[in-house]
């Protein structure tokens, strides 16, 4: 009996001690100098930016890295208790999902309208843009398709790589619905499925599979090809080639990576400062040169290589509507592309 009591005491003491420790750390969270960021964008990319931000502002920013969709689900589950003050997302969909359940706070005026209206919403702002493109194996297809509608042609049977579960693919299909209508989109989805496509989880895997000669053509975002070229030591080492579709084709939809404030600390000035920083010229240029993404703030030079943002893109698509994926997924399910 005595030993049990002793055990209980030890357990309780350690619990109290731990709670105390945790209490200390959460106390420092509300420090005027603290900031917690959830980043769905990769650490290798964001870390140098954070280091500079800390150096310039003295704000002790802590970043938690993860997958955009999973962080979005995490913030949704955390609810009002989220430790995050800023969510920096890889795509608009993950931000839209949070906006839909009122998990985001309105943006302050200093950041709300910096980028063109097409690239932001009420509670989030785009930071950089990316275009959809077609990658292809020149050994198999000397004349690459210039429109995604060509991909239902029997000559691409078994050769088309898509990532239907990927948010950027679904945004692209949503864009097609908005520009070409539901009927035509459904016909296209069914045509692709009838052409026996290869299903992937990510854009990068499609680019690699085309490069390996396993897949003939693939629908991806423009920068994966450039990143892959750099990893392989230059464009000349790539077997895969890239094609931007003709202007007006839904195959070249422009989507964004963006940032938002959570409801946790809507008034925290540090969080706003971070978003201001993301929209500053130096950071916008950093993305253009490092990841080949398109800066969204007017007046900043675009990346070298891809065609300018102004020359591509469909008739303006409301990105806000892109985050409403329900009807798109219904169509994709109907076509057998999604489970």
């Amino acid at each position: 009996m005595k030993s049990i009591r002793l055990g209980t005491i030890i357990a309780l003491t350690s619990l109290v001690g731990l709670a105390g420790l945790a209490g200390c750390s959460s106390a420092s969270d509300s420090d005027a100098n603290a900031l917690t960021i959830y980043s769905g964008r990769n650490e290798a990319l964001v870390k140098p930016l954070i280091d500079t931000f800390i150096e310039e502002t003295g704000i002790q920013a802590e970043v938690r890295y993860g997958d955009s969709a999973e962080l979005s689900a995490q913030i949704a589950e955390e609810g009002a208790n989220t430790p995050a003050q800023v969510f920096f997302s890889q795509d608009a969909g993950a931000l839209g999902a949070l906006q839909n359940i009122d998990a985001l706070a309105p943006l302050p005026a200093s950041v709300a309208t910096v980028v063109p209206a097409a690239y932001r919403s009420t509670d989030w702002t785009g930071v950089t843009g990316r275009a959809r493109t077609i990658v292809y194996d020149p050994a198999k297809f000397a004349n690459p398709p210039t429109s995604v509608f060509e991909l239902t042609d029997p000559k691409y049977k078994g050769q088309v790589g898509i990532a239907p579960a990927n948010a950027s693919f679904q945004s692209f299909v949503t864009g097609m619905r908005l520009t070409s209508g539901d009927a035509k989109t459904e016909e296209w989805l069914k045509g692709i499925m009838a052409n026996d496509p290869q299903i992937f989880d990510s854009n990068l895997k499609i680019v690699q599979s085309v490069d390996a000669g396993t897949t003939g053509v693939g629908l991806v975002n423009h920068y994966y090809w450039f990143v892959n070229a750099r990893e392989k030591g230059g464009v000349e080492n790539l077997k895969v080639a890239q094609q931007f579709t003709e202007p007006g084709d839904p195959g070249s939809l422009v989507n964004v990576a963006g940032a938002a404030l959570t409801t946790n600390n809507a008034t925290n000035a540090n969080a706003t400062k971070f978003i201001e920083y993301l929209l500053s010229p130096s950071v916008q240029e950093f993305f253009a040169t490092t990841t080949f993404e398109y800066p969204l703030v007017p007046g900043i030079e675009g990346p070298v290589g891809p065609p300018p943002l102004s020359s591509i893109g469909v008739d303006p698509v409301e990105l806000n509507e892109l985050s409403d994926l329900a009807s798109t997924q219904a169509l994709m399910r109907e076509a057998g592309m999604l489970a």
Binding site: A44, Y65, E70, Q74, A167, E231, L338, A339
Partner: protein, 534 residues
């Protein structure tokens, strides 16, 4: 000897089982929180049932394969006369050190055309076969050879004697291993994602990713948990009243190692080499190749060191938590195998069959509401590891406590020991090697865990697995290679620890490991004599 279950033990066991069922509570809230509509939509979707069917098929195929390969391999390393036996033992256990996403990626980079069900089957079978080899080899080693000898005197050939006298006694160990394999496959995301197999875990993942749809993901999660419970129940049933008998009252002796005919010996070496080289060799070769050919190659030593020590710390804390929480349930299952114990044991398996992302989110949900001060701190992360990996510890605890005769404890009681002291000094001491093996297995798995670690680790801390994820996500495979290699290397330490007792088992002079017939015969006779003397 039907002793009543001590109430305190039952209460503790039930508490643990309920607490580790947190994911189920969360899934129920999410699934039914927005009415019956979304649930019905998932249940009536034929794709759901097709994915469930594929999940079961893959689990059965991989479990069957690992038994078909693992049992002969276990027999070879414990019963046969092999050259370099110790090396073989270590080699066939080493695949445990390789995370399935690393192995899958390695196979894909060497054979880019690999895809689909059979590719996932191949890689998962190679990755999980040690789960069958380890318990089977341990059971074979502690087997009383008298049964087989009796069978031989009754006219059975060596093969028949093994099949009829020895195999039935090790079958609970084989079944336990196969169960862990099946649950591993159900929850795995790495291989099925890389080889593009539409199983439940992948569909769950796409629901989060594609639709930000937590409701249908939760419904699918419940289906997966029910499938897992069904598999666990089947295994419990097959375990049934199987027990191990011992003819003599003394400790079991080691029978002489069997000499194989040259043909069988070559086949045996071939099997062991295939298990080890395909399971470990391929990932290592592919990792080195990525390091040598990628432009991002380079080693950030301080970062690598930090990730390594964080990995070790999380591994040890996770291990201690999982083993402590598994102890009451394993004890109940071994000592008081009532219906209640079976149900508690089944409940404790839930977390192991769910993908890490589901378990992670459930602990995010509960953690931020009930213990916000512990959110994203090591204690809550350790709890997540326990939910995920209790079955691994529990199976080892149950197995090793079950082999300690209860009479020993009774004797200690008659000598005036309190129940707790008798248990501690007799049963725990005798069971500790087995429990330690289970603990090491948990350590190994925690070190490789990714999705729950990403969500619940203290902000700013990184393990080898999270660094690996960060770098491969942006295609910097060469920069990721040192992390993959380090993960395999530090995983090899626990794998060595697991192999060590098996390697040591037939403690014979080094000359026995090899060749000359006369020496073999002499030592065999010597061992027989020793046996008789006992």
């Amino acid at each position: 000897m039907n002793r009543p279950t001590p109430r305190s033990l039952l209460i503790i066991g039930a508490t643990v089982a309920v607490v580790v069922c947190v994911p189920l509570v969360y899934l129920a809230i999410r699934a039914f929180g927005s009415g019956w509509g979304p649930v019905e939509q998932v249940l009536t979707n034929p794709n759901t049932w097709q994915a469930a069917g594929t999940s079961v098929a893959l689990a059965v195929a991989v479990a069957g394969t690992t038994v078909a390969i693992g049992v002969p391999a276990a027999w070879l390393i414990t019963k046969a006369r092999l050259r370099w036996r110790r090396t073989w033992v270590v080699l066939v256990v080493l695949p445990l050190a390789v995370p399935s996403f690393v192995a899958s990626f390695a196979w894909l980079s060497l054979f880019p055309q690999l895809t689909g069900f059979w590719a996932a089957w191949l890689v998962l079978s190679l990755a999980t076969v040690p789960y069958v080899i380890l318990p089977t080899a341990a059971a074979l080693r502690s087997l009383d050879p008298a049964h087989e000898e009796v069978a031989r005197t009754l006219g059975s050939g060596p093969r028949e004697a093994f099949l009829r006298a020895a195999l039935p006694q090790v079958s609970p160990a084989v079944g336990g291993g196969a169960l862990l394999v099946a649950l591993y496959v159900l929850s795995d995301f790495g291989a099925v994602s890389i080889f593009r197999v539409d199983v439940l875990s992948r569909v769950i993942f796409s629901s989060y990713r594609a639709s930000f749809d937590r409701t249908s993901a939760a419904v699918l999660g419940i289906i997966l948990a029910l499938l897992a419970m069904l598999i666990v129940a089947l295994e419990q049933r097959s375990r049934g009243r199987a027990q191990r008998w011992r003819l003599a009252t003394s400790a079991p002796r080691q029978p002489p190692a069997l000499t194989l005919t040259p043909g069988w010996r070559a086949g045996g070496y071939g099997l062991l080499a295939a298990v080890g080289l395909l399971g470990v060799g391929v990932p290592i070769i592919a990792t080195i190749e990525q390091f040598l050919t990628g432009a991002s190659a380079g080693i950030d030593w301080p970062d690598l060191g930090a990730a390594m020590s964080t990995t070790a710390l999380y591994g040890i804390v996770g291990m201690v938590t999982a083993v402590t929480l598994a102890l009451p349930i394993g004890l109940l299952a071994a000592r008081y195998p009532t219906r209640a114990a079976a149900i508690l044991e089944r409940m404790s398996f839930v977390g192991h069959a769910l993908p890490g992302v589901v378990v992670g989110l459930s602990i995010v949900f509960v953690g931020t509401r009930l213990v916000p001060d512990f959110y994203q701190t090591l204690p809550l992360l350790a709890f997540a590891y326990a939910v995920l990996f209790i079955p691994k510890a529990g199976a080892a605890i149950r197995g090793s406590i079950a082999t300690v005769p209860t009479v020993l404890e009774d004797v200690a009681r008659t000598c005036g020991y309190s129940p707790w002291r008798a248990f501690r000094t007799v049963t725990m001491r005798l069971a500790s090697p087995g429990i330690a093996a289970g603990a090491v297995l948990v350590l190994l798995t925690v070190m490789k865990e990714l999705p729950a670690t990403l969500m619940l680790r203290p902000t700013g801390e990184d393990t080898l697995a999270t660094r690996l994820w960060t770098l491969t996500e942006i295609g910097s495979y060469a920069a990721a290679a040192p992390y993959a290699m380090t993960l395999i290397l530090i995983g090899a330490i626990p794998a060595f620890l697991l192999a060590f007792p098996l390697a040591r088992s037939v403690s014979q002079p080094e000359s026995d490991d090899g060749g000359d017939e006369l020496e073999d015969e002499r030592s065999a006779r010597r061992r027989q004599l020793e046996g008789v003397r006992r």
